[in-house]
């Protein structure tokens, strides 16, 4: 691909040698009385240190399940990791026992969940929960832990941190609770931070506050981040690279600019064209027919809704591989070469066959 593909506003694509986390061929299913649910089907992606990877998908895309499988946070049964590996700093997380995983979780890998209401213990003060996070993984005294907790709360912008340390979660607002969770997550300077829909339950202005704190945390700790969300605005705002998931498969990956300016998969293109913009007005929204599937289609997961694949047997029969379409940019579409035009988000030319 030629250098003219990127414009000058985009930072250069840099790939360091070894990924911090490398997931390969992950397959996870759920066994229910109603049948087997194929939640994650052959998912692979890499995360390098210092970067933010946005995993974007709708309901049923498997984005949360994939990441939870990697961290051992899946309830098995009914969940079951059938295949794959997830190599973090030389260890395959999927082969570690629960104890070994618990050593890594909270120190090297930290997680922030969607609903701070249920991930914080309501009967313990915020301070004691942060201190607990610190003292599990580090050998420090109670006073030192308390001091560090105050620092952490200050870092995430909680006013009167010292006093608020001894308050309970219900005394914090939703945004503050989420920030306290970020403080807890950053307590042990993790190498990898995973945020699963961190702002979905929050108002827009609160979301802005929390995102600001996340950016700050990222800068201070140089942690890599996996941001799981369905909100493409968040991805555009925060991510360096993007993994687009649908029905448990990865449909496209690339830098955030690749995905938004040069999407090369009909799903990504359709999705971007169906979203309204706040900074400009669109004449009409493209609508993708149908709905995300509940059972995994044969062949390409997206083919029942795809205009490009309409009437083409290959799409219904053969699962497409992730083909290279640019530097670090891959698309799982049999006919990706037909998607020629360089497009800018909001200006998609949808003339396919």
């Amino acid at each position: 691909m030629s250098a003219s593909q990127q414009d000058s506003t985009e930072p250069p694509v840099v790939e360091t040698d070894q990924p911090l986390l490398s997931v390969r061929g992950l397959v996870t299913e759920f066994v229910t009385p109603a049948g087997i649910i194929h939640a994650v089907n052959d998912v692979s992606f890499d995360v390098y240190s210092g970067e933010t990877v946005g995993v974007v998908g709708e309901s049923g895309s498997g984005k949360s399940v994939a990441v939870r499988s990697v961290l051992g946070l899946l309830s098995q049964p009914p969940g079951r990791i059938v295949a794959g590996e997830a190599v973090f700093e030389g260890h395959d997380l999927l082969r570690l026992d629960n104890y070994a995983l618990s050593v890594i979780r909270g120190s090297d890998i930290a997680v922030i969940f969607q609903d701070p209401g249920t991930s914080l213990n309501p009967v313990l003060t915020i301070g004691s929960q942060i201190s607990e996070a610190l003292r599990i993984h580090q050998d420090i005294s109670r006073t030192a832990a308390r001091r560090r907790s105050v620092e952490l709360l200050q870092m995430v912008g909680i006013p009167n941190a010292k006093a608020r340390l001894d308050e309970y979660p219900h005394q914090y607002s939703g945004g503050m609770r989420q920030r306290a969770m970020i403080a807890m997550a950053m307590a042990n300077r993790p190498k990898l931070l995973i945020a699963d829909e961190p702002t979905t339950a929050l108002d827009v202005t609160t979301q802005a506050q929390v995102l600001d704190v996340l950016k700050l945390a990222k800068k201070e700790s140089e942690a890599a981040t996996i941001l799981i969300t369905h909100d493409l605005g968040l991805i555009a705002e925060m991510a360096d690279r993007v993994v687009v998931m649908y029905a448990g498969r990865v449909l496209e990956t690339g830098s955030v600019f690749d995905i938004f300016h040069r999407p090369r998969h009909p799903y990504t293109i359709g999705l971007l064209a169906s979203l309204p913009r706040i900074d400009t007005e669109l004449d009409s929204l493209h609508s993708i027919r149908g709905a995300p599937p509940t059972t995994l289609p044969t062949g390409c997961a997206f083919h029942p809704r795809c205009d490009l694949g309409k009437g083409r047997a290959r799409c219904a029969e053969e699962v497409p591989h992730l083909n290279d379409v640019g530097v670090g940019h891959r698309s799982a579409c049999h006919f990706h070469e037909e998607i020629k035009d360089e497009v800018r988000a909001g200006d998609i030319n949808l003339e396919h066959r």
Binding site: D212, F260, G346
Partner: protein, 352 residues
Amino acid sequence: MANKNDEDAQTSQPSQGLYDRSPRGSTVLKVEHLVKNFSGPTRLSLHTSPPIQAVSDVSFVAHAGETLGIVGESGCGKTTTARSIVQLIKPTSGRILFRGHDLGKLDRVAKRRVRQEIQYVFQDPSTAFNPRMTVHDVIAEPLRIHGRYKQGGADRVAELLRLVSMEPEHGERYPHEFSGGQRQRIGIVRAIALDAQLLILDEPVSALDTSVQAQVINLLKDLQDRLDLAYVFVAHDLSMIRHICDRVAVMYLGKIVEMGTKTEIFEQPSHPYTQALLSAVPIRDPSLRDSRERILLEGDIPSPSSPPSGCRFRTRCWKAKDICAEEEPVLLDRSGIGHPSACHFATPSSST
């Protein structure tokens, strides 16, 4: 004043055009000084807590063929306002005028008649229907209630299903057998089964997957064009508001802080809250990432049972001065701006 020449609700003609439809652009809804206070919970000491001022003196109009958006964050009162218009919530004070008639002063017969013209679309399509009713029965319910099913009701249901790109055979199935987008379409079509002139839509696409939202929005626009419907569209997704609304009212803690056309609000917001709100929404283009001035608000939304004196936004506003605590700024068209804004120091800024 209120003109009460409503016809008898039992006219049996099944088709549309029972009476004059409001022409495009005419005022269909006028909300005047709407107030709704909820009594606070009674605590153990038998003290009643102060009332929750959910909606405090809200006024706006909606026109046929146009969409008015009401946007705001949690606790702003937009849902309470929406539900008050359809009388699901009884206002504490204020008037709601529909095509000139004061809804609070109608007799029982007229009230039923009006129900055929103002309808409501619920947010969550998975709870909006009786799980034991078929799709056909769901859509037929309004027809049956108003005695308009006997003559050609079944055909009307089939016609309505086709209107939203569904097959008449789908009527025999149950709502839970359909996807979220289809169910929301069923909800919309149930609302226009009679002679709807005004639709109140409460977050109609928030519960749907992103790839499906456009289907429903396009349908709503199409129906509006065809039937000259007036929409009051309540939402928190500002991008969606920008796309579908003609005029926008921004609410904060029970008050409208700014109101104007879509262009005025999105390109020249003058109230600090509106400006902060717009700057907080992530833009779906990574190259515009750091291009805006980001306004970050301090603090949290105050409780609606004890709103700040004077301007309710002053506790989080960077422009706040003494006057803001003493004198509540009225929603006025302040000279030089062009649209009403409730701030002593309103200055339009151009957002990117």
